[in-house]
């Protein structure tokens, strides 16, 4: 057994230990140097968040939008801070064998669930077994099931959990931070959702109405001493970003989440509000179907990438709340970013590549988009203008948002807009190119070389070779892949000046709430 300082952030052990002792592991990074306004302590925070539908489960194993409040109700073994370090939450330390197959997590003692039951290793075992049941539809199922079987997790006493993986799993501590791995009690059903969840988190569930609201109250027995600061948090689902802004302006919300660069312009200079944004790896891809003409030729795919003026997009569409993308899903924010450079805007070279591929007169393509993610229509229209001089004649077709991804998954489109959110384990995004069940992903691009590079990166024996292998994988996807990833878009939230110690996270649903306070007045 080798002790990892931290498998992800070099030499952070001593700092991490210190933070742990102070009981402030997550907050410390979020504390601003000085605050002029005094907090009153207590109070009810009202949050306007994105919509979760009327039947979305509150069970952390299956929700999508409900991930936003899992950090209020639950804890996980680990958490990923805004600077991308993996820090302890319900696990205090972890070790792994030299081949990354055997993992041992030591658990925090003296933690209890909202109903008073003590937290033990058996709860962790049940939590991960639930993720590994495909029927519950957890987004973590695919990456976890690659390396782990349900019987590979075992409790060793009350405060130690052992994971015996079938393949090297270097990133287990990061995957364990996923909201789907929020720790639930050992009696949670293996094959059905929990309707009234009990967690160990800073706030207790008071009232949940799917698609409308979630009301919580303070957990008096929270393990972080002195936290949470607030008495209660009320989350409201508001589908439209402008409605969230209007709600804050009219005094109905203190904090609003998941905004867009364009809508926050209206409050950016308003002294009552603070716009809180952070660089991320969220991308809004233009994906190509690589098994059909004209995108079956990599020279065409390269031309499509070269015809994108990323700097202009950032200025025009993203109002500087984005960084240039390099046509693969790993952004500079990530721990495994290999420094891949964004392709230049090079019309001459794009034309030349098209001619070499046999399209001397250019190509006619239909780019399908929808209001599925903010900016998806605008970015498609801007790309249309940028690509035209290269002979790439884009027809932008806007289709209804309802059922959009169903149609994408059904392979209805040849060239389409697709939104990918940054994940706790970046290699998860490469899985977007992997087959789903028996069928290939909608891009129909899964070459042998990609599979070999992905497998090599995933199972790298040490940190140095891992970064090198991921860099090779990123370079390959950037040069050969079926996606234009024009930009990596920031996470943008906003709050009133009353809200103290708020900090967004590049993974938008990794926001924490226990440290928040409300100022006087």
């Amino acid at each position: 057994m080798r002790k990892t300082a931290s498998s992800v952030s070099n030499g952070a052990l001593s700092r991490r230990r210190t933070l742990q002792l102070a009981g402030l592991s997550g907050v410390a990074a979020a504390l601003p140097a000085a605050r002029s306004r005094a907090a009153t302590g207590g109070g009810t925070l009202r949050v306007g968040m994105e919509a979760s539908g009327p039947s979305e489960p509150i069970d952390p194993v299956g929700g999508y939008s409900t991930q936003t409040f899992t950090h209020a109700l639950f804890d996980r073994l680990t958490w990923i801070s805004p600077d991308q370090s993996v820090v302890p939450e319900l696990a205090t330390t972890w070790e792994h064998s030299a081949d990354f197959k055997e993992w041992t997590f030591s658990l925090r003692q003296g933690v209890q669930f909202h109903d008073g039951r003590p937290f033990t290793a058996r709860d962790v075992v049940r939590t991960f077994q639930r993720i590994l049941n495909a029927k519950l539809g957890s987004q973590s199922y695919r990456i976890l099931s690659l390396s782990l079987d349900p019987d590979g997790i075992a409790a060793n006493g009350d405060h130690t959990v052992k994971f015996s993986c079938k393949a090297p799993f270097w990133n287990l501590p990061a995957i364990a931070s996923d909201t789907h791995a929020s720790i639930v009690p050992e009696d949670s059903p293996l094959d059905a959702y929990i309707a009234h969840p009990v967690g160990t988190g800073p706030f207790k569930l008071e009232n949940f109405q799917a698609g409308n609201h979630l009301f919580t109250t303070r957990n008096e027995h929270y393990w972080r001493t002195g936290y949470p600061k607030l008495d209660a948090i009320r989350f409201f689902n508001v589908a439209d970003v402008t409605q969230r802004i209007a709600g804050m302006i009219s005094g109905q919300f203190d904090l609003i989440l998941s905004l867009t660069p364009v809508v926050v312009q209206s409050i950016r200079n308003d002294r009552r509000f603070t716009v809180a944004s952070i660089k991320s790896g969220n991308c809004l891809n233009l994906n190509m179907r690589a098994d059909r003409k004209p995108f079956d030729d990599n020279r065409v795919r390269q031309a499509v990438k070269l015809a994108c003026n990323r700097g202009e997009l950032i200025k025009q569409i993203w109002l500087d709340e984005a960084i240039e993308g390099s046509d693969q899903p790993i952004s500079p924010v990530s721990r495994i970013w290999g420094g891949i450079k964004p392709p230049p805007y090079d019309i001459a070279r794009a034309k030349q590549l098209l001619a070499e591929a046999g399209y001397a007169n250019g190509i006619d393509v239909t780019l399908v988009t929808s209001t599925i993610a903010p900016g998806s229509v605008e970015q498609a229209e801007a790309y249309q203008q940028q690509a035209a001089p290269a002979g790439i004649r884009v027809k932008v077709q806007q289709v209804p948002a309802t059922g959009y991804y169903y149609n994408v998954d059904a392979g209805k489109f040849d060239f389409w807009v697709e939104s990918w959110a940054m994940r706790p384990d970046d290699s998860l995004l490469f899985l977007e190119y992997a087959p789903r069940g028996a069928e290939l992903a909608p891009t129909q691009w899964y070459p042998q070389e990609f599979q070999a590079l992905f497998e090599a990166a995933r199972t790298a024996p040490d940190e140095k070779s891992r970064l090198a292998r991921f860099t090779a994988l990123e370079k390959f996807v950037s040069e050969q892949g079926p996606s234009v990833s024009p930009v990596y878009i920031n996470v943008v939230d906003a709050h009133t000046k009353k809200v103290l110690y708020y900090r967004p996270n590049p993974m938008f649903y990794y926001r924490t709430y226990y440290q928040l306070e409300l100022a006087e007045g």
Binding site: G62, G247, A438
Partner: protein
């Protein structure tokens, strides 16, 4: 003359006390036929709702499993959801459930659909009810007052405003009202986020904008109809007679003009209630009001078919029952309606 006009009004309001046995029998027969007709409509509706949600693209199992769909998991889930049975069998099972108020369970959360649908429906009823009361009383009064003072400045102002409202859809008016009363003069909440703990004052402030937004389009139509109905009645001989008899103006309006002008309005009001409910769906989305319209929209987006079916059926059942009740009510009050079916 006056006598005759009054009889015409009362005839529509009270059954003749001397209905013969055969007339009663024919009324019961009409009632049975009318109820049977409603049940048939209900069955047709249920077939349509079931068929529409069944032919939607996408296998439900794929929707639930998402990207985790392996062939084995898919087959198991299809069997568990009875999707491997023929559609008529599934339809009968679904209908048997509805008879026991069991609308099935949500595909996403696995929880029963009925409580969610019923609560949202209750919210919509409150919004529609308040809007209907305000709209009917307001537009009838405005229509009457403009009809009485045709050609006045008030009349011309109202005419202008009704034409503007008729041509302005709810989402445009709602956006203007939000800009006015939320951003410019911040006195009202932008979103109507009511819940079980909302106090009555909260309900009032949060209902103002949705109600004011949903009323004008349908209300304007009622104002126009009420105005012309009033104009027709005012020119009748019995109004002149009442004036000649020296009755006060107030008495003439309340006892003679209003009741007579309202008779042709009953059908108009009933028809417009349907339009009002349609508008309610729009404002529910616009103001994030937790009603059945928003529920239906979001359930379609999530492909949660039992929820869609449950919401659509509940709306349909209530429409059909209300229509039946209205017809029976009118028939009881005016036996001529019943006799026509005899």
């Amino acid at each position: 003359m006056l006598q005759g006009a009054n009889t015409a009004v009362t005839a529509g309001l009270a059954a003749e006390p001397t209905a013969s046995l055969s007339e009663r029998w024919s009324f019961l027969r009409w009632l049975a036929l009318r109820t049977l007709f409603s049940v048939l409509v209900l069955i047709v509706l249920s077939v349509l709702v079931f068929a529409a949600t069944t032919v939607l693209p996408g296998n439900v199992a794929d929707v639930i499993l998402g990207q985790n769909a392996t062939p084995a998991a898919r087959a198991a889930l299809i069997h568990q959801l009875h999707l491997d049975q023929p559609a008529p069998v599934r339809y009968l099972g679904w209908m048997a459930g509805i008879a026991h108020l069991d609308f099935g369970t949500s595909l996403q959360s696995g929880l029963p659909v009925f409580p969610t649908v019923a609560e949202a429906f209750g919210h919509s009823l409150i919004l529609a009810g308040v809007a209907a009361v305000v709209m009917v009383s307001g537009s009838v009064w405005i229509g009457l007052s403009t009809g009485l003072r045709a050609g006045s400045t008030w009349d011309r102002l109202v005419t202008l405003l009704t034409f503007i409202s008729l041509s302005m859809p709810e989402f445009v008016l709602g956006s203007i009202l939000i800009w006015l009363f939320v951003i410019l003069i911040p006195i009202l909440p932008a979103l109507s986020l009511v819940d079980s703990e909302t106090p009555i004052t909260g309900w009032i402030t949060m209902l103002v904008l949705p109600v004011v937004t949903v009323i004008p389009v349908t209300g304007a139509y009622i104002v126009r109809t009420m105005r012309s109905a009033t104009l027709d009645v005012v020119e009748q001989d019995f109004v002149e007679m009442a004036e000649l008899r020296g009755l006060t103006r107030r008495r003439i309006i309340w006892r003679h003009i209003l009741p007579n002008a309202l008779v042709p309005m009953i059908n108009v009001l009933t028809l417009n209630m349907g339009w009002l409910v349609g508008g309610v769906v729009v404002v529910e989305v616009l103001f994030q009001y937790p009603g059945i319209g928003r529920l239906l929209l979001e359930s379609v987006e999530q492909r949660d078919l039992p929820m869609v079916q449950g919401a659509a059926m509940l709306i349909g059942i209530v429409y059909i029952v209300l229509n039946l009740a209205a017809d029976i009510g009118i028939a009881v009050l005016d036996p001529r309606v019943g006799r026509k079916f005899a």
